[in-house]
């Protein structure tokens, strides 16, 4: 199974970081492996996931969305019902507990839409840790409410003013800060990106999504699904859903990436469609870059997908053909946002709306007895303001 002992998923992954961080990564991997096999750590994490975050999240048969699409049966994995409103808490509870049990007093995080920042600030409050979150200055404006939530939770939010002032640069700033404070600070990365062991660790903390889905679909339908659909920015909710199904060759795995204004334009975040091999934020992966290796800015209506790279395990799954990746535009995501809201009474996060948009397209082409599970990775409260600005006038 991947990763190998060098932290590689095939040709992707590894540890491309300044030397100052290398000892910390080696130590982190050892701590993680020790705690992952410690029954007390597992017991504590399970109890927080259940009693604090509300797991297991339901697997809901969306009959009206199924009818709307007119094809395969669509199930929604309701990660939006987690505490703090998204799947991010699965990982921050895991890493927060790891930080606490290894004696760290302070955690830092990067955030795009603010969901991971809120989830980190939440566990920092829960475990009594100091918390600093780096967020792109532009994202702080787009997601002002989440900035306030983090501050309410006691976190310090530091604007990343370099580069494109979005998630990519917030991650750079978090890494720069970590290099300076590596001796007493734990860095909680929010997705399956970064240097080894992060992609492995975040995947392991998110696999609870897929493990539950597997049990729930067997209970409700008596068999495995035919397709799994999830949005990908860095790719943590998709990796968490896909991972327990990697060996089930009959289950199609489909990641949905942000095509922004269209993959034929310069404004998108479709790393799989348009990216090439290279190093971003500590791992060999696929990223959007020019011919000289300068990282290109990404664009998406959704701040959480607005990232020019992708987790190395996804790059490997794409290369090996085990998973496929499909682009969905801002407009398609916006349409799916209102569709799901109106036919099911569920307001999805704009990130998750990308997955819904593709699922509806795909379901139409499949027979009625096919089963599809879509990861509803987060709820849309944080996006209501953005959507109001875009379509508010048309609702009278």
């Amino acid at each position: 199974m991947f990763p190998d002992e060098r932290g590689r998923f095939g040709e992707f992954g590894g540890k491309y970081v300044p030397e100052t961080l290398m000892s910390a990564l080696v130590e982190l991997e050892a701590d993680y492996r020790r705690l992952a096999s410690d029954p007390e750590f597992s017991r504590l994490l399970r109890s927080y996931l259940r009693d604090y975050s509300g797991r297991p999240t339901p697997l809901y048969f969306a009959s009206r969305l199924t009818e709307f699409a007119g094809g395969a049966k669509i199930y929604l994995k309701r990660e939006d019902l987690n505490h703090t409103g998204a799947h991010k808490i699965n990982n921050t509870l895991g890493q927060g507990l790891l930080a606490k049990m290894t004696g760290k007093q302070r955690v830092i995080a990067e955030t795009g839409a603010g969901q991971h920042g809120v989830a980190t600030a939440t566990v920092a409050a829960l475990f009594g840790l100091q918390c600093t979150v780096f967020m792109g200055e532009e994202d702080m404006e787009r997601q002002a409410l989440n900035v306030f939530r983090m501050r309410l939770l006691g976190a310090e939010v530091i604007p990343a003013r370099s580069g494109t002032k979005t998630l990519k640069d917030a991650t750079n700033e978090a890494i720069r800060h970590w290099v300076e404070h590596v001796e007493d600070t734990y860095y909680i990365i929010g997705s399956v990106v970064g240097p080894h062991p992060y992609p492995m660790m975040v995947r392991d903390f998110q696999r609870v999504i897929g493990d539950e889905t597997r049990e729930q679909i067997i209970e409700q339908e008596g068999r495995l699904p035919d397709a799994l659909v999830a949005c990908v920015g860095g790719g943590s909710n998709a990796m968490g859903l896909f991972y327990p199904f990697l060996r089930d060759g009959n289950v199609r795995l489909i990641g949905v990436e942000a095509a922004g204004e269209g993959i034929e334009t310069a404004r998108h975040a479709a790393t799989m469609a348009k990216g090439s091999r290279g190093v971003l934020h500590g791992s060999m992966t696929l990223l959007m870059q020019d011919e000289f290796g300068q990282v290109q800015p990404a664009h998406s209506i959704s701040a959480g997908l607005d990232y020019p790279g992708i987790g190395p395990e996804h790059a490997h799954l794409a290369k090996s053909g085990r998973a496929s990746y499909e682009p969905i535009t801002d407009q398609e995501a916006l349409d799916a946002f209102t569709t799901l809201t109106q036919v099911e009474g569920i307001i999805p996060a704009l990130e998750s709306a990308h997955a819904i948009a593709y699922a509806v397209k795909l379901a139409k082409t499949l027979p009625a007895d096919d089963l599809m599970v879509v990861n509803l990775s987060g709820r849309g409260d944080k996006d209501v303001h953005t959507v109001e600005r875009l379509i508010g006038g048309s609702l009278q």
């Binding site: 290398m22 990519k168 750079n172 290099v179 000289f292 300068q294």
Partner: protein, 274 residues
Amino acid sequence: MTMRGQTAIEQAIRNCYKRTAFIPFVSAGDPNEDVSYRILLELAQFSDVIEVGIPYSDPLADGPAIQAGSLRALQAGMTLPKALRLIARVRAVSDVPLVVFTYVNPVVQYGVDALMQACADAGADGLIIPDLPFEESAETREAAVRHDLALIPLISLTSHERVQMIAASATGFAYCVSSLGVTGERASFATELRAFVDAVKRASSVPVAVGFGVSSPLHVRELAEFADGVIVGSAIVRRCEDIQNALSSGDAARLDDSIEALSQFARELSEAGR
């Protein structure tokens, strides 16, 4: 024929005898290609080795001063091939050993062996790749040997038991990072710095230089007590901002003065190592 490559770097530092080698850093093309060429020639007069940075969009080992220098160069249209052309221009008129400082992604995109070939063709003598740790560097080390280029590794205060392995792999020189954090000017150094540098010296067969935070002639004097060389980046790159301001003023005399000021600063740093 003058020697080149890793031997050129190692000898240039060893030849300093009683003084410490002076190794300035500038971003290629900061503030533009022609002025950068003039700056490099000025520095060449006082330098034992020069580090030439390839400007990069995401320089995560660098603090604000070098980020800004990198951005100035990119905005003026600098690219990796143009930086190599700039190095070749300097090499045509100077023997000073030149080290290419680049993040790993442009190396991957260019192709490891192709870039080494291009560096050697341009007359560069070695490379520093700050986000390529020992464990990921096997292919690059082999290519460097093929093209007789030094691959200068960074060693940090947190390297601990990794020091031996990294120092033993060093060619050209070993680069000790003075303190935790990114590049940038600092007021003082960690108290354990001297013991750390001594440990690296024991583990290494090449000279040992110290960088990150070295900002003044006073710092250089302090480090000259125990380091074979000192690297000064941010304090020099910050002065390139004055040069850009002079450049955009369109006043040729002011531009000359700003370059002269940088040159004077480099001379003071270099002499402080005596």
